[in-house]
């Protein structure tokens, strides 16, 4: 995939896994078009973002589970003012907070692709769209969202 197909311009901050390894399984999963989040082996509770301990039962025995890459819009915003040099000249873009009801209601952030003008419907179903940046060093994949109905 070439750089021209990226949703936001080149030069945005690139995600890099934390030096302590906490979120590496998430970023590794996105390279395979998989959405991986934490699930506690002790109490089966879901957890996102990642942490070293389960906030429910305080077990350190956390697993990484692949979840179905869909959800519904919990909130949204449309950014107009370019806060980063790479965004100068960029048209307004929509950021969504997506709730995953089938994974304990955890929420994920991404851009809404093909966003309509005006208000974005809270509660609308969306599916993940994986955006690989294979030309980056090291390569990474972002996770965007698109309305499904």
């Amino acid at each position: 995939m070439s750089a021209t197909t990226y949703h936001l311009p080149a030069g945005m901050p690139r995600p890099v896994p934390e030096p302590d390894g906490l979120d590496a399984p998430y970023w590794d999963g996105t390279r395979r078009d998989e959405l991986r989040v934490q699930r506690c082996r002790g109490c089966q509770g879901w957890q996102w973002g990642p942490e070293w301990i389960c906030h429910r039962c305080l077990s350190f025995d956390l697993d990484w589970t692949t979840v179905a890459p869909h959800g519904r819009i919990y909130s949204w915003e449309r950014a107009w003012h370019p806060v980063h040099p790479a965004l100068r000249g960029q048209r307004p873009y929509v950021i969504v907070l997506v709730e995953l009801p089938h994974a304990g209601g955890i929420r994920m952030i991404g851009n809404l692709l093909d966003a309509p003008e005006g208000d974005i419907p809270i509660g609308a179903p969306v599916a993940a769209v994986f955006e690989p940046h294979d030309d980056a060093a090291p390569p990474f994949t972002l996770v965007h969202w698109r309305k499904t109905a």
Binding site: P15, W27, W48, E77, V83, L87, M108
Partner: protein, 391 residues
């Protein structure tokens, strides 16, 4: 219950001239020193009596340096409130008061200084090419600045409670209205109309330009002493009635996963404040509520029980929010939007002025004044001050 109520007072306040960001003619530490000396002069205290410092938001001006620069005989208390934004503004006052009540120190300065020409601005992204940790989940999607970080909380709140654009607008108009009476205000002489607000550009929906705070240069300082000692000093004391800080269950869960997401972070903090002060919202005469963004003020006022979410559209009008006779005079110096973004500490100073009867938009007979600091961050804090009559 244990309470700070009535034990400590703000005896002096001081500030530099307030400047547009990057325009301070002096370095940040010099601004801090000037504000501290102005607060001492206001209180009628020899600066050499200071024996402690408290600040917040990683203020760059180390108490040990200030103590050396001021030639203090000894330093007994130095305190930094964790957390960014202006959430620590009232907590720093609480921490200083606790030190006095506990006997760690006798005369503590609360201060904040900013010279953004000398250092990085808050509203512009750092030029880093990579993002790690929580930032890796937001920065690559163009969710970077404070306005972008908080817009989705407010969007969800407005949606849940069917609150219209007029509510945020009234908060912005109130600050600008009060700034026109305040010659210290950076926006003095720059009035704002409802039409100009409505036509202003979006920064990030649901925030227009005038929903967002300024960024400024300057410094502010408060002198705290025991209530007993304050009674012998130059000014009418502003007694601390209560302070609370903190945030709800898992407020900082990464990637916008706080269970109570659409919140100003005060849902658990505010009840502690009221209990400590032995007061209710009906007892408050005037409120200074930190405007990082107007939507944060909206949620702060609701979470401090001034009105229900369903009443927001009718309560939040310019008429209700303006001194002298509005139902709840708000940000009577112009606040962060129109007086100065002194990281909120100008709000504490304005609350003291109201209790002295010295505001440029005075609420007649104000006995109890409230300050709400830094909504939507964690930890947040808020405080209540009163005149001697309120004790």
């Amino acid at each position: 219950m244990r309470t700070i109520r009535g034990q400590v007072a703000i005896a002096g306040v001081g500030e530099t001239t307030y400047y547009k960001h990057g325009q301070a003619p002096e370095p940040e530490v010099k601004l801090a020193l000037r504000a501290i000396l102005a607060a001492c002069e206001d209180a009628g205290i020899d600066p050499r009596q200071i024996d402690g410092f408290a600040s917040y938001s990683n203020d760059r001006n180390d108490p040990s340096r200030l103590a050396a620069a001021l030639g203090l005989p000894e330093l007994r208390f130095s305190n930094m409130q964790w957390g960014g934004g202006g959430g620590g503004g009232s907590a720093a006052v609480g921490n200083a008061a606790a030190a006095i009540a506990a006997g760690y120190a006798d005369c503590v300065v609360v201060f904040r200084a900013l010279a953004q020409g000398q250092f990085q601005r808050f509203g512009a992204a750092p030029p880093a090419a990579t993002a790690s940790g929580e930032a890796s989940l937001t920065f690559p999607y163009g969710l970077i600045s404070p306005a972008q970080r908080f817009a989705m909380k407010v969007m969800r709140y407005l949606h849940d409670h069917k609150i219209g654009a007029g509510a945020q607008r009234a908060i912005a108009l109130a600050s600008y209205h009060h700034a026109q009476a305040n010659p210290r205000a950076v926006m003095h002489g720059r009035s704002l109309t409802a039409e100009a607000y409505d036509e202003s550009r979006w920064i990030v929906e649901p925030f227009r330009l005038f929903d967002c705070c300024m960024e400024n240069d300057g410094a502010a300082a408060l002198i705290l002493v025991s209530a007993e000692r304050a009674r012998d000093l130059r000014q009418r004391p502003a007694y601390l009635l209560g302070v609370a800080q903190g945030s709800e269950y898992r407020n900082a869960a990464r990637g916008h996963n706080a269970p109570t997401y659409a919140s100003s972070s005060f849902t658990t903090v505010a009840p502690h404040l009221w209990a400590m002060a032995g007061l209710a919202s009906k007892d408050v005469n005037v409120v200074q509520s930190y405007e990082n963004f107007t939507g944060g003020v909206l949620m702060s006022l609701i979470e401090h029980d001034f009105f229900a979410p369903e009443e927001a559209n009718e309560f939040l009008t310019l008429e209700n929010l303006t001194a002298p006779h509005g139902r709840l005079p708000l940000n009577t110096s112009g606040g962060n939007l129109a007086e100065c973004y002194m990281h909120g500490l100008e709000l504490q100073i304005e609350a003291v002025r109201q209790l002295r009867g010295a505001s440029t938009s005075q609420v007649p007979g104000a006995r109890v004044a409230m300050v709400i600091s830094g909504p939507m961050v964690t930890p947040v804090s808020s405080m209540l001050l009163g005149t001697g009559d309120a004790l």
